[in-house]
């Protein structure tokens, strides 16, 4: 069986995971290991009047208790947000100070004020309990609707009214004019519910300071170890970059939550230097709920106008986003540049305007969670399309079809130039597989059983493969978003690929190797992928935004081009042929039309022995490349969800879920389908089950798996996943990225299906049995009142 591009190669990395030999951060235990436990605020907003550590310090086995004054006193810098957003009046965003250990004020339940370092984890936790912090409680703004009100508690001094920025995209006058010309306007008020990412491996950090070398090593649960090293050195002054090695070993899922550099990693590094011990911290799940960045949490009001033919003539959006108590690393970009540019969806809309205001609240910081901004945009656009179709008495698929973009490239009025796609085709594929034609019969059959059956669509687009560095920079990003790769052909012909991408479930050790096997015809077993260690791998940007395929693999492809060019030269010289006649296939380097050839490993050996290289050629066979895309990639998809609702209990069962995705070129269909399954399930979680709940005092009310409803196996169906490939012209492989599609596209499909089943448009996520039951009752009441 082929192991090249397009083959469902079984994963090379699985053996260590299925045998319990995976090496995760918490599995690391150094000599002289000590353990950290954080003292966290139980108050959402309070002044820290004093910290009494005497009782903790007196305990046997306690090495030290450290606080924020000591941390800032040692010059450790504040945590930053790396994407600058400018308000529409030209003023910069109001970023409040965030110290890894709070000094004067705590701003959310879970804000760390001190850390105990002790000989065992149990001792550290017991001692943390003995640290007595004197708090003066302050009034709390636990939701964005509270914090934006006049007279709301001031969370950061430099953010008057708690506002971070008031930003816009698009042409407001044009959108207004479009709406004025409309013959039908659909209005929607939506909340995109707040979620906790919950990768199954809790975050962990093991920091070790070597005083002889003045050098630090950090094992950490990171999606992007190089970015962590850069930020830890350049902004937080923990250690100079060349004196800090960051290793992200096996990482148990990320979904965005492991992009950011959190207070705990900073503190562990600093504490290892203070105590001259290796310091380890591993979050428990309770701690994860109050420290891992949350996602979503938007409140939106929008209007979409249509003409007589059902064509969209104007779209106006007003969104309020909750940033939490502090600005996390990419928090500012999520409700702006990862959101508003996607409001055109798959549709040809000429007039769009979006206004976004963001506010601080006394809650955990909010940042990117799988999809990041794009699920919020998609939920709005696709709920809008379905609702409008119902209001206008049109088939929702037909309304979408009338508005589909048909020609590419397509420039939207909100920054994006879509690369390639075939939207009618994927909708047709999904409709066929979902047997939409047979739906009325299935609905009637369900009705006979006393069940309400509904069908819902979501036809969506993403901007993935983050991102062209120049474009990102012009929009405020503090970093470039290219990726790097190095290809090392060893003297025996085996190949090592060093990539700046990081795999935490995506299967890069297999898919990246497929790209190499495809190019040179070498066995996939002879290709090793190296990632996640700043001492081994050149600087890279890491994995998020479905970028490892379109950007990371493209960097590998570019480096392979250079290797190939050198191989041709070496072989042509050795075989006394023209470079142009050299063909590389099946692990052999041949001269076309002759029987002259060299085995792949012979070329490798020749490069290193260097006895017979072309005049002036350097020995060795190792090339590197940086790939900076010219544009985002634009995966698209059509999802169809079919549900049955029990009208007596409000319980929803997803009876069928169909997807037709266009991810461009697919390297490994098995892995891509797995990504869709997982993403769709997270979207179903958002639609039906999950929501982070705070009370008005800023107390988190569902911070464990007893109360925060993670999707279980019985909550989701088996999925029908299929693909249509229109390769992206923006990278050498034509790959578009597949990591986020499921989470982006599925929530509106689910809610559209339920609202279709129960006959009302008014239903918020998560559509719990109680919420659905209430919506059914409210619908019945409003019908009775008419």
């Amino acid at each position: 069986m082929s192991s090249g591009i397009g083959a469902s190669v079984k994963r090379k990395e699985d053996k260590r995971f299925t045998t319990g030999k995976g090496k995760y951060t918490d599995d690391v235990r150094n000599d002289n290991q000590a353990y950290a436990a954080f003292v966290r605020s139980p108050h959402a907003h309070a002044r820290v009047k004093g910290i009494d550590t005497s009782a903790a310090m007196a305990m046997d086995g306690v090495i030290d208790v450290l606080n924020g004054q000591q941390l800032t006193g040692d010059g450790i810098g504040n945590i930053i947000c790396g994407w600058a957003i400018t308000s529409k009046d030209g003023s910069p965003m109001n970023m409040g100070a965030w110290s890894a250990l709070a000094t004067e004020k705590v701003r959310y339940v879970g804000d760390a004020v001190a850390v105990v370092i002790a000989e065992t984890q149990a001792l550290a936790r017991i001692a943390a309990e003995a640290v007595d912090v004197d708090y003066e409680e302050l009034p709390v703004a636990a939701s964005v609707l509270t914090s934006m009100k006049d007279g709301a508690p001031q969370i950061h001094e430099n953010a008057p009214g708690n506002q971070i920025y008031d930003w816009e995209l698009g042409d407001e006058a044009a959108a207004d004019a479009g709406l004025a010309s409309a013959t039908h306007i659909t209005s929607l008020d939506l909340t995109n519910n707040r979620l906790s990412p919950n990768p199954m491996e809790p975050r962990s950090a093991v920091a070790k300071y070597d005083d002889a070398e003045d050098h630090y090593t950090l094992y950490t649960t990171s999606q992007n170890p190089h970015v962590a090293r850069l930020v830890l050195s350049a902004f937080y002054n923990v250690a100079p970059e060349h004196k800090l090695r960051v290793i992200a070993p096996d990482v148990g899922g990320g979904f965005g939550a492991k992009i950011y550099i959190y207070p705990e990693e900073i503190t562990c590094l600093w504490a290892s230097m203070k105590t001259n011990r290796s310091v380890k911290w591993t979050s428990d799940r309770s701690e994860a709920f109050i420290t891992d960045a949350h996602g979503r949490d938007h409140v939106t009001s929008a209007k979409m106008g249509f003409d007589d033919a059902g064509k969209i003539v104007g779209f106006k959006v007003d969104t309020i986003a909750n940033i939490g108590a502090y600005m996390s690393l990419f928090s500012s970009s999520v409700p702006t540049y990862l959101y508003a540019p996607l409001l055109s969806g798959q549709y040809n809309i000429q007039n769009i305007h979006c206004n976004v205001r963001t506010y601080y609240t006394n809650t955990v910081p909010v940042d990117a969670y799988r999809g990041a901004g794009r699920p919020e945009a998609t939920y709005l656009v696709e709920r809008m399309m379905e609702t409008a179709a119902r209001e206008m008495g049109m088939d929702p698929a037909e309304l979408r079809r009338r508005n589909f973009i048909q020609e590419f490239p397509h420039q939207t009025p909100v920054l994006m130039q879509y690369d390639a796609g075939d939207f009618p085709k994927i909708l047709e594929m999904a409709q066929e597989t979902a047997d939409v034609a047979g739906f009325p019969a299935r609905r009637a059959e369900a009705e006979a059983r006393g069940k309400l059956r509904g069908i819902g669509y979501s036809t969506f687009i993403e901007a993935c493969g983050l991102a062209p560095s120049k474009a990102a920079g012009s929009l405020g990003a503090g970093v470039g978003l290219w990726e790097s790769a190095e290809v090392r052909v060893n003297p025996v012909g085996s190949i090592e690929i060093l990539t700046g991408s990081h795999s935490h479930g995506q299967g890069h050790e297999t898919t990246f190797a497929q790209v190499v096997a495809d190019r040179f015809g070498v066995p996939i077993e002879n290709v090793q992928i190296v990632h996640g260690d700043t001492d081994k791998v050149q600087f890279g940007m890491g994995t998020y935004g479905s970028r490892s395929g379109p950007v990371g693999m493209s960097a590998v492809a570019k480096a392979l081009d250079k290797v190939e060019a050198k191989v041709r030269k070496i072989a042509a010289h050795a075989l006394e042929a023209s470079e142009d006649d050299i063909v590389i296939e099946g692990g052999e380097v041949k001269v076309a039309g002759t029987d002259k050839s060299m085995a792949w490993h012979e070329v490798g050996l020749a490069a290193y022995i260097a006895h017979n290289l072309p005049e002036g050629m350097e020995p060795g066979l190792k090339e590197s490349a940086f790939f900076d895309p010219v544009n985002f990639s634009f995966p698209s998809g059509a999802f169809i969800c079919e549900v049955e609702v029990d009208p007596d209990t409000g319980t929803t069962e997803i009876v069928q879920f169909t997807s037709a995705d266009d991810f461009g070129t697919i390297i490994n269909p098995m892995i891509v389908e797995g990504q869709v399954h997982g993403g769709v399930t997270q979207g179903i979680g958002q639609a039906l089950l999950e929501q982070v709940v705070y009370d008005e005092d800023g107390q988190l009310l569902n911070g464990s798996y007893m109360d925060y409803t993670m999707p279980r196996a019985a909550d989701v169906p088996s999925f029908h996943v299929q693909h249509h490939e229109t390769p992206s012209p923006n990278n050498p492989l034509g790959v578009k990225g597949c990591g986020e599609a499921g989470a982006i596209g599925s929530p509106p499909a689910v809610i559209n299906a339920i609202t279709d089943a129960i006959g009302t448009n008014d239903l918020a996520m998560p559509a719990t049995p109680q919420a659905v039951w209430r919506a059914i009752q409210a619908g019945a009441k409003s019908v009775a009142a008419e």
Binding site: K15, T19, D27, M200, D284, G505, R712, A713, V716
Partner: protein, 156 residues
Amino acid sequence: MTSINMNVNGKAVSGDVPDETLLSEFLREHLRLTGTHIGCDTSQCGACVVHIDGKAVKSCSTLAVSLEGAEVTTIEGLANGDLHPMQVAFNDNHGLQCGFCTPGMIMSGVDMVKRYKAEGKDLTSDAIRAELEGNICRCTGYHNIVKSIEDAAAKM
């Protein structure tokens, strides 16, 4: 401190542990068998499932001192040399992504297949989904985990 003796993965082990030591902690910290994972602190996620005297148990809610003389099997000891059919099936069916929940999924999967076979019941995909109530996966959407367990059941 209590002195305990048990058999883990076919080997006699002993240790002096504080009474509150959980089996998960004993396995990970004392025996350094780190394949048993801790994904939550309320005994919901199932990443820590091991077999005690042949039955699947969450090691995070079992005290080590309660297991005097017990036979414990962890993911590291599931197979002798070759892979167990359940381990093969997870690879064949792409039943794992990040791998963190996988040891618990595999240990639960083996247990449910054995139980259903012993009781002569049919392990349908619906039954597998219901049986997985105590195992949470955030990556796979369960689709391929269910397929993996079905596949292994046919081969065990």
